[in-house]
């Protein structure tokens, strides 16, 4: 088992003919993801050349792609100006899960897109996220496949490379993963920590969860409360940004301490108050997970 994506994931790539879209489509296909369709308006009828001589049909629109291929998931690699439109189109096409990789999508566009997706009961991951990978089953997004391995740990994170750091250490120490999810660093994200924790709790193959947060907002605090209220599985946490100054955006649009709200201190305290053991350094995560599973 895994969460959100697995062997049944049938993926459409929105923006498959773009620079990023085509590169990552090949990567996903090489990993074994079932990429069943691509969408690029105006290029319907053409074919995308994947690795090993495989091809993927291209459609003008999501509804056509879904009707023709029975896709259930999409991933979005289109420029910011068109990204929220692509999410709306995906949410309207009958699929149930949309992964938005694009960085720099206007926040007010996302407010509307999230409302639209909620109206239709469609799960959105991102935007501005690395996607997710269920080792041995499916990869959707840009996470490097070589650092993951199959095993009992669920990983959820707001960050990209920091996740790689954590996952790499897990894998190097023989701790494989059920699913690694990057929820993204934007202020308005579709799938949050709680959504992932709930899914990991329900996934019989996940034995423990690593949750990697950062400064800004209160998602980690609410997730911590959720752990107390609804989780039986151990959770190990890490928070980046203890040295970040207030009021400055630290790369991610969502990584900003507003006044005294959203600091690493309050998040770490919320973790500790709710029984989540907190790694002081990324290097400590493996030890804490081992202790939790012992």
């Amino acid at each position: 088992m895994a969460i959100f994506i697995d062997n049944d994931t049938r993926l459409v790539v929105q923006g498959i003919t773009g620079r990023d879209g085509s590169f990552h489509t090949r990567q996903m296909m090489e990993y074994g993801t079932q990429v069943v369709a691509g969408v690029t308006p105006g290029k319907g009828g053409q074919s995308f050349e994947g690795p090993d001589g495989k091809t993927v049909p291209i459609f003008n629109a999501m509804d056509e792609a879904v009707a023709a291929t029975g896709a259930n998931t999409s991933v979005i690699y289109v420029p910011p100006a068109f990204a929220s439109g692509a999410i709306l189109e995906a949410a309207d096409s009958g699929i149930s899960f949309v992964v938005a990789i694009t960085e720099g999508v206007p926040v007010l566009d996302m407010a509307m897109a999230h409302a639209f997706a909620r109206d239709r009961g469609v799960r959105v991951l991102g935007p501005n996220c690395p996607g997710l990978i269920s080792p041995g089953k499916s990869k959707v997004g840009i996470l490097p496949a070589q650092i993951v391995s199959e095993g009992p740990i669920g990983v959820v994170s707001r960050s990209g490379t920091l996740t790689y750091e954590a996952v790499f250490q897990l894998t190097s120490n023989g701790l494989g993963q059920t699913t690694c999810v990057g929820i993204g660093g934007d202020p308005l994200i579709g799938t949050n920590f709680i959504d992932c924790l709930r899914a990991f709790e329900a996934d019989p193959d996940t034995a423990a969860v690593v949750m990697i947060g950062e400064i800004g907002g209160t998602d980690e605090q609410e997730a911590a409360q959720f752990v107390t209220d609804h989780m039986s599985k151990p959770v190990v946490g890490f928070i980046a940004g203890q040295t970040a100054p207030p009021g400055r955006r630290m790369g991610h649009a969502g990584a900003i301490i507003s006044g005294s709200a959203g600091t690493a201190e309050e998040k770490i305290k919320a973790f500790e108050d709710n029984g989540i053991t907190v790694a002081q350094r990324p290097a400590d995560i493996v030890g804490l997970i081992r202790a939790a599973l012992a």
Partner: protein, 378 residues
């Protein structure tokens, strides 16, 4: 992107919000001329992208034009939170009866624009929200409907009892929402919203932050960028498309990814050092970006060592290594550089770096410890 008070007021005025007149002065004499034109008492206000202007002495009441010139002379050139004041707004002093707070920002939890209003104006709303939340009325605006007439009234009802004031405030709240949306803002604030003895409701101060992701499609808003007073290093970083924040330490950091960059800073602190900056070079291994990053880091005289922490995923480590070597050929760098590279093609990369004479590591802890030690020694 923050915009100045006078720019926010222009947008508010265009949306119909009653805002007192005001003009910008960059010299004391200009301030004198503007104050003379208005006659009577004026306020001279520093235009700078930093909060707490008032406490820092950046806002002064002047009884006449001569005093306005004097205040402008003191305020212009002043440093507020590391930013130099290069402009002041000169505006007639208003006769104020009450002060309230009205603000709207994008709320993460509700995934929507959210108003906060308080009859306690002129205050730090975050402090009020934290300490006396019962003094704030909040309204989440459903993006599908925008702000509705009864919602504006509901907020205004919380501020005033007088029907005339309520009506004016409800209108201002609706106009503020439109100004917020039309600018692609992440925050817009009137603090204080005042009433005058003659029964008018007016925006005396104005603040607005723009979502950087909106700028590509709003040239009128993007044109309001004013980098005056900003550190040169941050301007350069923005132009090079780097995420950079200057800090006060001496260990320069150059990392790929925002979360890893923060974790690296934290680890510097963990090992007893102080990070000199946050810097995320993004996913690119373009040598030009590495050059720009190194130029920015080394422009800070406090920097005593520089550490690279690169986790190669999609990014290939050998590309980054070549970028670093190339960059250090183009510019002369004094502080020692230590590099951690891991992930895709790391062996090739470490070879390239060792050949070029760099200390290269595969563990994040090792490189941070080393960088802290070098900074302490230098």
């Amino acid at each position: 992107m923050d915009i100045h008070e006078y720019q926010a007021k222009e947008r508010f005025r265009a949306a119909g919000i009653p805002v007192p007149p005001g003009e910008i002065a960059t010299t004391p004499d200009e301030a004198y001329a503007i104050a003379s034109k208005y006659g009577g008492m004026v306020v001279v206000k520093a235009q700078v992208h930093a909060g707490g202007r008032g406490k820092a002495g950046g806002v002064k009441l002047a009884k006449d034009a001569t005093e306005a010139r004097e205040h402008a002379g003191n305020i212009l050139g002043m440093e507020i939170k590391g930013l130099t004041v290069e402009k002041v707004l000169v505006t007639p002093a208003e006769d104020i009866q009450t002060e309230a707070y009205v603000g709207v920002l994008v709320d993460r939890n509700n995934q929507a624009a959210t108003f906060m209003v308080s009859a306690e104006g002129g205050v730090d709303i975050e402090a009020v929200a934290a300490e006396t939340p019962h003094l704030i009325r909040k309204l989440v605006v459903d993006p599908r409907y925008g702000i509705l007439p009864h919602q504006g009234l509901w907020l205004a009802n919380y501020l005033y009892d007088d029907p005339g004031l309520i009506k004016q405030a409800a209108k201002i709240i609706t106009q503020l929402y439109h100004a917020f949306i039309d600018a692609g803002a992440s925050m817009a604030e009137i603090n204080p919203l005042v009433t005058t003895p003659s029964g008018e409701v007016k925006a005396i101060d104005a603040k607005m932050s723009i979502d950087d992701s909106e700028l590509f499609r709003r040239p009128d808003v993007a044109a309001m960028r004013d980098s005056s007073g900003e550190p040169a290093s941050e301007i350069k970083a923005r132009e090079a498309n780097l995420s950079y924040v200057k800090l006060d330490g001496n260990v320069g950091c150059c990392v790929n990814g925002a979360g890893l960059a923060m974790a690296t800073m934290d680890l510097v602190k963990y090992y007893g050092g102080e990070p000199a900056n946050f810097l995320d070079i993004g996913g690119s291994s373009n040598p030009d970006k590495v050059v720009a990053a190194l130029e920015i880091i080394t422009s800070d005289p406090k920097v005593k060592s520089i550490l690279f922490n690169i986790f190669g995923g999609i990014t290939r480590c050998d590309d980054v290594a070549n970028g670093i070597v190339e960059a250090t050929k183009r510019i002369d760098i004094k502080p020692p550089i230590v590099i951690r590279l891991t992930g895709t093609n790391e062996e090739v990369a470490l070879e390239i770096l060792k050949n070029a004479g760099f200390d290269a590591y595969t563990s994040m802890d090792a490189v941070v410890e080393k960088a802290v030690a070098l900074a302490g020694a230098n």
